[in-house]
């Protein structure tokens, strides 16, 4: 007999991970089923990584409400969970009287939504804030920020795991049925029984919703492409620079990352292919051209990578984008929390969304508190970010800190070992990359990937052909070149 869970969360994106963590505050048997080999593999990690200010979302919407409260709690979360977050502010840059009117409307909307620190600034002040930006005036949102979505999601998931949540990667839910008071979730690796189900499947939200019997939602994919610029460029961009937005689309913007890179994007086009992350050449060129209108430092020689992300947008019959749908349909699927169309600002709003999900559940069932819950989690120490004195102390405590493996990003063997033995048991090259930044620098792993691959083999006792790059089936090597396979 398969063990039975109190709650199973489907999806280990940022929202699923936040829900798992919120649920771990209670005495529940909780599992997370994720089809990929790591957390944060889809929408959660493929975006601008901006902590939004909630001014661009319609008054009264869940998006606005959760975004504003998520923004306000981000310092506390960063302190508890040890992930990179910078409240650097951001500017929305305008040039025309129409832009000014729109910015004033945006400011009013932000104020009603409860956001502080919104201010209109003139060109001179704008250039003090962001020296090279092109624009006549701007709305400055002092409380907007940037974060690392991978490390944030990893932190949420690791904290949930430390508080008792079980994680199952490579477990795609292929069917759901209900047996009396229990849901049976089918996966390629066996059935899982649970009293509660939470659909946090992101791009798969409609599929899971349909499996629960809650049908009729229209979800479209909105594809975004991005360019990543070299780390040296971040020094020239102290905060994200956006054009004047509307309530549906933020526009192509330039954003510093917490690590000093700059991203340029996103463009947006609807797609049915929810797993196609191809970045077309045409879009790369258009992004660079559009970004340059705002900020003149986008040069081909600094482009180190491109990426694409897809957001699930819930739309009505006219194609108009709707608010988040977060519901328990007691009539159709009792004890199932259904989240549909969780798109931007989902990263900012993740914990408030999770709290709301738990509230909906607690309205229907009393959960006993977990007295052992610990909200704090420590991440992997970053040698490169330490002072020389701290670096010396680290090496004295563990010689592996003195062995640099990734030269570009300054990642040591000690950090890589910690990443290989991560609490969630993730074993992919990209899992190690996101946890340490190894292979993210100028040479993109040209010098260090073989060392890291060998460390995985040695530490985990696997064969070369078993090491995956990212997704299941993304083998890196065919095996040994000579000798035994």
């Amino acid at each position: 007999m398969q063990e039975q869970y109190d709650v199973i969360v489907i999806g280990a994106g940022v929202v699923g991970s936040a829900i798992a963590r919120e649920l771990s505050r209670y005495r529940l048997r909780i599992a997370v089923l994720e089809k990929n080999l790591d957390v944060c593999n889809e929408t959660s990690g493929r975006n601008s990584a901006v902590v939004h200010g909630g001014f661009a979302n319609p008054v009264g919407s869940l998006k606005a409400r959760f975004c504003v409260s998520g923004n306000k709690m981000m310092d506390k979360l960063a302190a508890e969970l040890d992930f990179p977050f910078k409240r650097c502010g951001k500017v929305l840059v305008g040039n025309t009287p129409a832009d000014m009117e729109q910015l004033q409307r945006t400011m009013e909307q932000g104020a009603i939504n409860g956001m502080d620190g919104l201010e209109l600034v003139d060109e001179a002040r704008l250039h003090e804030l962001v020296p090279a930006v092109v624009g006549k005036f701007a709305m400055w949102s002092k409380n907007s920020g940037i974060m690392d979505p991978f490390l944030y999601t990893i932190a949420l998931a690791e904290n949930a795991h430390a508080n008792g949540v079980s994680y199952f990667f490579d477990h795609e839910v292929t069917g759901i049925h209900r047996e009396t008071d229990v849901y049976v979730l089918q996966t390629g690796k066996g059935d899982f029984r649970t009293r509660w189900v939470v659909n946090a499947a992101g791009l798969g939200c409609k599929r899971i919703s349909d499996m629960l019997g809650i049908t009729g939602y229209r979800v479209v994919g909105s594809r975004s492409n991005y360019i990543i610029l070299h780390k040296r460029m971040g020094r020239l961009l102290p905060m994200p620079v956006y054009p004047v937005p509307n309530n549906v689309y933020m526009g192509i913007h330039v954003t510093p990352t917490v690590d000093g890179n700059v991203t340029v994007g996103p463009d947006a086009e609807n797609t049915d292919k929810l797993d196609d992350y191809t970045v077309p050449q045409k879009n790369i060129e258009e992004l660079a051209a559009s970004g340059t209108v705002l900020w003149p430092h986008i040069h081909k020689k600094d482009q180190i990578r491109t990426f694409a992300g897809i957001q699930p947008k819930l739309v009505d019959e006219n194609g108009t984008v709707q608010d988040y749908k977060i519901e328990i349909r007691d009539d159709i699927a009792p004890q199932a929390v259904n989240l549909v169309g969780i798109e931007s600002p989902g990263l900012t709003a993740s914990v408030p969304i999770a709290q709301y999900v738990v509230e909906l559940m607690r309205e229907r069932e009393a959960f006993a508190e977990n007295p052992a819950f610990n909200p704090c989690r420590k991440g992997i120490v970053r040698f490169a970010d330490c002072t020389p004195a701290e670096q010396a102390r680290l090496i004295a405590s563990d010689q592996d800190y003195g062995e640099l493996v990734c030269g570009c990003e300054g990642v040591t063997k000690a950090e890589l070992l910690a990443a290989i033995h991560n609490p969630l048991g993730v074993v992919t090259m990209t899992g190690i990359k996101y946890r340490t930044r190894a292979m993210m620098g100028g040479c993109q792993g040209g010098f260090c990937q073989m060392k890291i691959e060998q460390m995985i083999e040695q530490e985990l006792g696997c064969r070369p052909q078993e090491v995956c790059y990212s997704r299941k089936g993304s083998w890196v090597l065919t095996g040994n070149m000579r000798g035994e396979a």
Binding site: T278, T306, I395, T412, G442, G483
Partner: protein
Amino acid sequence: MERKEVVIIGGGPAGLAAAVELHKQGVRDMVILEREDRLGGILRQCIHDGFGLGRFGESLSGPEYAQAFIDEVQARGIPYETGAAVLELTCDRKVTAATRSGLRQYEAKAVVLAMGCKERSRGSLGIPGERPSGVFTAGSAQAYMNLYNRMPGREVVILGSGDIGMIMARRLTLEGAHVQAVFELLPHPSGLPRNIVQCLDDYDIPLYLSHTVTEIHGRTRLTGVTVAEVDVDRRPIPGTEQEYTCDTLILSVGLIPENQLLEGAGIVIDPRTNGAAVDEALQTSVPGIFSAGNVLHVHDLVDFVSLEAETLARSVAAYVAGTPPVPCNLAVEAGRGVGHTVPQRVSGTADFTLSLRVTGHYRDCRLVVRQDGREVVSKRMKKAIPAEMVQLAVKAGNLRRIGALEVSVE
């Protein structure tokens, strides 16, 4: 903080040759810092032959070539530390390195930059498409095979006709992989003619010029690439696309000096070489910091790297001995048909060797150095190609004290 006369960053061919020559010049108080766990640099993974024809008059493998210098370093008792990764270099020549036994901090009279180069990656090319596994730079595939005994794939397409790419075409073939073709964006090969013959022709691997990979396919492992012909502006020509089924794409699309430490020290970088801009003593814009080898500009043959490092060593020996520096105010500019030159500044009062690359294929041409339009020196060449570095000796006697130099192909 330990004081040293000379700190050499990098224990590959440039650093080793510089160390030996410095020792010959009487310098003793020096150290080589090498980030890997042994000396030799990239030569350690270059197990093919063809090294040292110029210097030793015989064809050596990479490890053999390196060993000749390592033996000399050890015989002379030149201090070196392996597993020492330099974290920071400042403009006042303080060098911080991480080692397993702690941080090392040196204050050097002179610093030698000999860090070599890195490969251009897929990201810097901006090849559109998915991000499956199975896309390797030629050097990383070479490291997997020759240093780690790991096989990167079975069905291979190679983009770029750089030397390492062609050498890997042969290497992969010898280890049982099937290399379908090498595609080169430019209308001429990027690598040396001898590698086209010995690595491609001998194994019936076709080389297609003016072609590029326009898309990468595969969500997990690479499943194929789209290849198209390109026009004179290197833009893909619609309608010429062809699909190739493969599990491995090897990129050999150029090398870039490993210049990350230069930025921290505020050293001026020449955008044409991506290495430091140097004077005839191979001194960078920061006094006391010198540069040679592939970190200065990408060479075609290691023999020239060694020679350049020895030239550098003689300048460094003079510098630490307190010989007053000669002002180098004459700019050396790359004119028609020339991609870059090293050095970028000269004094006009000393002989120097000019290293350069041409940008196109030339036959029966003349390389000419002019100062304010007046011809200073020239060299007749039957053939000049971008793959081969050209060197030109310039005598001080022919130079005036004022006026920029320009090198061009005629």
